[in-house]
Symmetry: C2
């Protein structure tokens, strides 16, 4: 047996790859569930429908006849690290003011979640920033602690004294920033970068060199400086879409090109001004990036950067077992709430994973299929995040299959024609106002009781209206739910 | 002169392309501001720094030596239509219940904004849905009105009687949906599709055929049915990422492949479960899609679809003049507020464009550069959306250049050393708690007054503390802002 093989990582044989029968539904033939484009939907969702419970399982992904493209050997979608920057980029969010206690609470929560790196504000920013940096370094977290400084010896000297595991160095390289920010040319930038990197390395800690506004920098300038710092032994080079102008194909091209130029790791930092920061991060990994910068809820300058939760959502969709093996996913909601409270915002209603309706299904055809097999309309399993699914049925878009499922949950005995008849009444009422689950349950119980007592038959609209009126009167007379009694 | 040329679309000569001097800053040489990868940052932001005021100006983009890739002839990034589905997909959002009056208000607002199509819930869903559909068709809007139905003759017969300009037909084609939803095979789906399309076409209105869960459907099945419906004259075929599992490169490949198979228009509908719906839409346009589905704030099933505002942000970043010529951008915030109120949610704090801090700049180096030239850190011009920029300075990440700008705005007379000294005091105070603009202004006025009166010099910390204490006492004694008096 190969010494690298063990129970968790050895490729399963074909015989082991048995589709799992979920929720009593028929098992899915994996050949039929492959997606288009030589990219597969089955592996993308294998936690949901086809996984065999052996934990992280990359070989299955490679085996799939539809899956690998020739170029996908570059992809690090199942081999990446997160540099969590809530305590650096996040501090640049308009609302953010983190006192020492809050910083420590956030750092501990991120460490417990499992992020590989935690990045802190430069100790040169203020005296409190410096002492907080030292305090967090002393916590003994599993995550490596980084601080983020300008490419300047003054800042570097302060940074290396704080006890950090590494220093992230940044300087603007676009003509915009060279002209309107620091005013330095590429020769000066290169000279300073070499000096700072050599100094940080001499202290035996990690060092990253990043350009700023990389997508509006000259490609030759960029590659030239990255090649130079790679040669002197920088641990990582960083690409930064500081202004949020990049799109996925640009990101793919730049990272792939850079991958051919440097041997060190590649980090990417993506602002979200046009809402593409999650997709850009995913695409960067496909092109060979190794480290992604995130912040909780994406907080940062302007509308911030790649959010931790969104990044986890898309990487989980690509390889749920790998992501589950790395991170404590049920903690995500807690961390988001912690940070939301600290910066006095609400978690956005449509946040990936934790948005309050992320696992709510409403339209009739969706509800029907979800009840048959959740993977029909879900690529994320709510239970993996400590969350639950909800099927909404008291509205005008409802369908009789969804209502049937509720009838069965309530233990009522109605046939399909009767359920369709009751559904028509729910739609009619919901056309006036949305019906709560209580409203729907009462109606179904009244309908059932009418059928059982012979006071109602399919299609007798007036009889049903009479029974519902009588029920409402008895409830408002304080007799409680007469029907269910 | 070529008959296709006119004042708005004719290519400007090189002489016309004069960089504009913004905000008194030095003009930018466009060669230096080209981005990496043959994709240009200048055109991406030409509303900000390099546009010559002639309105929509695609030839400048084509001229740029870095800009066009060989494959970009497919791109419809500057040639697309929006199908706005707040009144269809949006009605599937858990919180949504739109009465007739609200539907009409939303339809009118979207029409005034300039969307090309408005899609409505199927008239087969409920009686009110049907009468509302008829009412909106009678409004006489510029936007075309569509309704969205299951691929079924019963629904089609109801739809064509409502007065809509077109019918969007959908059926599940993935093995998941074929097995767990409608239970039909591809032969049945194809036969029904032909029947429904032929019927709708016979009424002289537009018809679109879409698969559902397209990215988990068999590629050959998909292309086969699209080719069939294209041959019988469907107006558009639709791709739907119903479960939100797609990523940008998959989207690019599927749309590009389909573009080679059908001659009709291509629509794409993208769910946002992993936060990639905006980027996927952008990439679909690059691959040749022609129509993008959106909803206001992205509302829809689960976490919804491509949001209208986010799509506008990324397309504006790609070609501001084109997007400004099509849509009434300052209305965006009003429409988002209208819908947010109707479904009882808050606009997310980090929404592209309208998030309350989307144009707030905080870190010292950002603030300094923004004050020199906004395009250093902005690819969206806030004034194009009826919004304003804000530079935040009362925090520990502030820098003296940002403070200097405020000193000048206040009309105070301080030299650079004095401003650096005052900045150190702002950082010290902000390490304890964030300083409001009022706090900063007071401090600067106290500092200025101290310098003028000779009570203070650079570096005299105790003298400054004494003056600030005295100022606070005078304010709390109700003497108002003694310094500014």
């Amino acid at each position: 047996m190969c010494p690298n093989q063990n129970a968790d990582s050895s490729p399963p044989t074909r015989d082991q790859m048995v589709p799992v029968d979920m929720n009593g539904s028929t098992s899915v033939n994996s050949t039929h569930t492959n997606g288009v484009n030589g990219v597969n939907g089955t592996n993308g969702t294998n936690g949901v429908n086809g996984v065999n419970g052996n934990g992280y399982n990359p070989p299955q992904q490679r085996r799939n006849p539809y899956a690998p493209r020739a170029s996908d050997f570059l992809s690090n979608v199942s081999n990446f690290k997160i540099i969590e920057s809530t305590l650096r980029e996040g501090e640049q969010f308009a609302n953010a003011f983190f006192d020492t206690k809050t910083k420590i609470a956030i750092a501990k929560a991120l460490d417990a979640f499992g992020v590989e790196y935690i990045e802190l504000t430069s100790p040169a920013a203020s005296e409190q920033s410096r002492t907080d940096c030292e305090a967090i370094c002393k916590l003994g977290l599993k995550a490596k602690i980084l601080t983020h400084i300008r490419c300047h010896m003054d800042d570097a000297r302060i940074a290396v004294e704080t006890g950090v595991d590494g220093v992230d160095v940044v300087i603007g390289t676009s003509s915009f920033l060279r002209e309107f920010s620091h005013g330095k040319d590429m020769a000066y930038i290169t000279k300073t970068a070499i000096e700072v990197i050599t100094f940080v390395k001499s202290k035996g800690i990690e060092v990253r060199f990043s350009s700023e506004d990389s997508f509006r920098s000259d490609l030759v300038d960029l590659l030239s400086i990255y090649q130079t710092v790679d040669k002197i032994g920088v641990n990582r080079v960083g690409i930064a879409d500081t202004v949020g102008c990049a799109n996925p194909r640009q990101v793919y091209d730049l990272v792939r090109t850079l991958r051919g130029v440097v041997g060190c790791d590649i980090e990417i930092h993506l602002h979200n001004d046009t809402g593409m920061a999650i997709a850009n991060a995913y695409t960067a990994l496909e092109a060979g990036a190794t480290h992604i910068d995130t912040s909780v809820l994406g907080i940062g300058e302007r509308v911030g950067i790649t959010p931790l939760g969104g990044l986890v959502a898309c990487l989980y969709a690509a390889n749920p077992e790998y992501v589950k093996s790395k991170y404590n996913l049920p903690m995500l909601r807690e961390i988001e709430n912690l940070v939301a409270e600290a910066v006095e915002v609400n978690v956005p209603f449509m946040n990936p994973i934790t948005g309050y309706c992320a696992f709510t299904h409403k339209a009739g055809i969706h509800a029907k299929a979800i009840l048959n097999n959740p993977s029909t309309y879900e690529i994320l399993k709510p239970e993996d995040f400590g969350l639950t699914r909800y099927v909404s049925i008291g509205h005008r878009l409802t369908g009789w299959n969804a209502v049937k499922s509720r009838v069965e949950q309530l233990g009522l005995n109605l046939n399909d024609d009767e359920i369709k008849d009751a559904t028509a009444k729910i739609k009619e009422l919901a056309d006036v106002r949305t019906q709560s689950m209580d409203d729907v349950d009462s109606l179904l119980r009244v309908y059932h009781s009418g059928i059982q007592s012979g006071q109602l038959a399919v299609g007798q609209k007036e009889a049903l209206d009479r029974l519902l009126r009588k029920h409402r009167e008895s409830v408002s007379n304080g007799e409680g739910d007469a029907v269910s009694a």
